[in-house]
């Protein structure tokens, strides 16, 4: 990959001289297979070598084994190392993807997650012999409760969208228990796509709420839609435009007066830790993305974890098993256990007790920073975003890629590439692709949907002022270049391992596995 920032002159903008990586044809591990080669070996058989027919009848057995690759260990290592170099990653350069909170992933967390007491602990181990793990989970739950301002936590959901589904099933259980049946869930038109998708999965109908001219929920529209058939309003605050909804208390009152629950999508929690708490805003249910605010590495698309924090009225319905703590008595240490016996619980959302390895990493992160440090992280995230916004509002970037809602932002902001498209013929997609040549990952693009040609920028607190300056300089250079010659951006990127890919045909005539 190209090195990050500090680019003295614009990177090449021609496709005539392919890079070494571009000359290398993508080859899969299956295509590297040669009959007879192998890497791993299986221990020799130390028990009587009985014919398989005696153990498993032939009709239940596989006749021809699966065609797995036949490759040696050096080949596997080289193959995946070479593949890794065809990825851009956060450890190499800025990754300002809005709503994704691409903050530094401390290696300490990897180190403690790999300790045998964590990594080698079997999930069916008796809780009596897993006290350290249960205590860690209990402490993480308590910390999340304090940060969210809600007293009860379940760590079980595997990611944010899993937490959303949990929250909606909790809402259903809550209303059912009160003898109520409600069929609709409200989501703003700026919401993450997972929100409406979760609503449908939970068996509700989605109703959209409009956004007002300040970028918040249109309270009049909300008022006209809230009634006793509405089960829940799902909100992100600060929302996906990067602004805090100033009417949150009024919104909460409207929702609660109708008997609905108020759900907090915690994707943007990184903006407000130690500054404001969803529970104090009136939310009943919150999901937290441990892979966003709490530094679990994104892994190219997971793993994550989506714990939920809830108010007293929702608590009886939380998923099982719950982690419980009992006082030791007579000076003995407290003990921890799983409690499966919760008659009103919605039940399980997955196997065992959740993504424990993620809990270890996020717990280590919280202990590293402490309460003050978490608050400082949010403050730095907001400072960095506003600084980058100020830099991008200058010069030609500000002219062609203006801020969509002209307000002080929180931890992220949304630009509109509409003027660049209209006046230069350069789309947001083109700007994003040209950023790749400069060694930056682009922002989230074309989201939220209500902003034309949107670019959603979230630098996070772990970027330095210098890297923000370099990113701003790259934007400015791209826009200036586009004004001179829009074709450069329109055909970018030039330096990446492959150039623009034909996504349409990959969906029209999908080739989703290799023919062996």
């Amino acid at each position: 990959m190209t090195p990050p920032f500090a680019t003295p002159s614009p990177p090449p903008a021609n496709a005539d001289t392919p890079t070494a990586q571009q000359r290398e044809t993508a080859t899969t591990i299956f295509e590297r297979s040669v009959a007879g080669r192998r890497a791993g070996s299986v221990p020799s058989c130390d028990v009587p070598e009985r014919p398989l027919d005696e153990l498993i009848p032939r009709n239940l057995r596989r006749e021809h084994g699966p065609q797995l690759p036949e490759v040696s260990e050096p080949e596997i290592v080289r193959h995946y190392n070479r593949l890794s170099r065809r990825n851009f990653d956060l450890d190499t350069g800025p990754y300002p993807l809005g709503s994704c909170t691409m903050k530094h992933n401390p290696r300490l967390n990897e180190k403690v997650a790999a300790l045998p007491g964590h990594a080698r602990l079997h999930p069916a181990q008796s809780p009596k012999r897993a006290q350290g793990a249960l205590e860690l989970m209990w402490r993480l739950e308590r910390s999340l409760a304090e940060i969210c301002g809600l007293p009860h936590v379940s760590l079980q959901p595997s990611a944010g969208s899993h937490g959303e589904l949990a929250g909606l099933l909790l809402t259903r259980a809550y209303h059912t228990d009160r003898g109520e049946e409600r069929s609709r869930v409200l989501t703003p038109d700026t919401s993450h796509g997972t929100n409406p998708a979760s609503v449908t999965m939970a068996g509700y109908e989605v109703v959209k709420v409009a956004t007002d001219e300040r970028g918040g929920v249109d309270v009049d529209d909300l008022r006209s839609k809230v009634d006793d058939d509405v089960a829940c309003l799902m909100l992100t605050n600060p929302n996906t435009l990067g602004v805090f909804d100033e009417n949150i208390r009024e919104i909460a009152e409207l929702v609660h007066a109708s008997g609905a629950t108020l759900y907090y999508d915690g994707a943007n929690l990184n903006a407000i830790m130690g500054r404001s708490r969803p529970g104090d805003m009136g939310f009943d249910i919150v999901h937290v993305n441990l892979h966003k605010s709490f530094s679990q590495p994104h892994g190219g698309g997971g793993p994550g974890a989506g714990p939920i924090a809830v108010s007293d009225r929702i608590e009886p319905y939380l998923p099982v098993p719950r982690v419980v703590r009992s006082e030791g008595g007579n000076g003995a240490a407290p003990t921890f256990d799983f409690d499966h016996d919760q008659p009103k619980s919605i039940g399980r959302l997955r196997g065992f007790a959740g993504n424990f390895g993620v809990f270890v990493r996020s717990y280590a992160y919280m202990r590293s920073l402490g309460g003050d440090g978490l608050t400082e992280a949010s403050e730095a995230a907001v400072l960095n975003a506003n600084y980058l916004l100020a830099r991008l509002s200058e010069g030609m970037t500000g002219r062609y890629l203006p801020l969509a809602f002209d307000r002080t932002c929180m931890h992220e902001f949304v630009l509109s590439g509409a003027p660049a498209k209209r006046e230069l013929g350069v789309k947001t997609l083109d700007v994003a692709k040209r950023l790749l040549d400069f060694g930056f990952h682009p922002p989230t693009i074309y989201f939220p949907l209500l902003v034309d040609e949107a670019l959603m920028v979230e630098p996070t607190e772990t970027e330095t002022r210098e890297s923000l300056d370099a990113l701003a300089d790259a934007f400015e250079e791209i826009v200036a270049e586009a004004e001179r010659d829009p074709q450069i951006a329109q055909e970018a990127p030039y330096t990446t391992p492959v150039r623009r890919l034909d996504e349409a045909s990959a969906s029209r005539r999908p080739v989703v596995r290799q023919t062996l």
């Binding site: 300790l115 990594a119 079997h122 399980r348 997955r350 996504e503």
Partner: protein
Amino acid sequence: MTRYTSVTDADRQAMLDAIGAQSVDDLFEQIPVEVRLDRDLDLPPGLTETECFDHLAELAERNAHADAETCFLGAGMYDHYVPAIVDAITQRSEFLTPYTPYQPEVSQGGLQVMFEFQTAISELTGLAVANASLYEGPSSVASAAYLAIGATKGRRKLVASRGLHPHSRQTLETYARGFGAEVVEVGLDGGVTDAGELAAAVDGDTAAVFLQNPNFLGAVEDLEALVAAAKEGGALTIAAVDPLTLGVVRSPGECGVDIALGEGQSLGGRLDFGGPSFGFFASTGEHLRRMPGRIAGETTDVDGRRGFVLALQTREQHIRREKATHNICTSQALNALGGVIYLAWLGKQGIVELGELMARRTAYARERLAALDGVELLHEAPVVREFAVRLDAPVEQVLDRVAEDGIAAGYPLAREYPEYEDALLVAITERRSKRDIERLADALARAVRASRGEPAREEVPA
């Protein structure tokens, strides 16, 4: 400043000047006063890296892990050897720290891994297509139910074998309340799914039939026969399978299932007290466009180079919103990478050899334990990696005694199957040698005798 931020006082001042703000507090002015937190978070102060490591290490030491004792626990996750290259490669920054590959030009590594993973899962299961991972096993079962309800247009009954992992059945129940569906259970007979009861349970309102192979009691089912019985009513057939047994056990594809899925931990995954691992999901070609989760597809770039992209994104939440085939976004990409590295490491011969070794050692352990006084088989169906025995003694007491010998003897079935109150599920992997099995047998024999109140054999006069 924290050790993960870099804002010096001079930086802060320069940045505030550029913003045109007086203080950082100004930036938070937009939060209404009544919802601001007017105190510090009530959390302990930050720790240095050394202190934090020591604290976590102290917690870790209070867990009896699989290096500290000999582990015969299974029940869905297994103590297999994790090759060194799995950790070495998955810890590389380029795989560890990117986001989902939304910009394919700089994500070819991750996208190609997904494509290779899909190919491997498709090969293992014997089905035409596979996705790039789901969260883990039991929630993948529930995801298949969502697909089936969509595919069968309004059918609302889900039939599940009692041999399906209890966590899968419970997760299915949880999700089904959202789908407005009903879960009907089919019992076991002789350790395997009761075929007659299954056939009787399937009717014109049945969206899907859920089976597991090997089932939770370790028994290898006659999957083909069960599938044939279930298909007559037009329901989709869905099998949860253990990928590491598929070198020897008949593949779900050969048995005619519509969807095969399962827990991927056994493919090079850590135990991690239950997660993160990955779920896999494969189906016949006809369900490709309803499939949940990310799918990578092969394509070419503008210069004709081979490349990979996220395919069929119109199924997904970020495009289709409330009409998406599933709500999943962040999945388990890094764990799936570990899975495909493991499968390449094990290879075409290795997966068969490992399956055969497990089958032979499991048979040996099963006979060895069944020969003990006070131990008998729970069922006599064929097994490949796990088997169940009944103890003529209180199971929890026996487990505590065996633990004193440094052995986790197995999973007490009473936790999930009240009808098997004194039963134990014992798992064997390539890491459990004959010697380990002998140790287990001896320790179990002693513990059963002691728990029945009999004196230890050494003390019995000759």
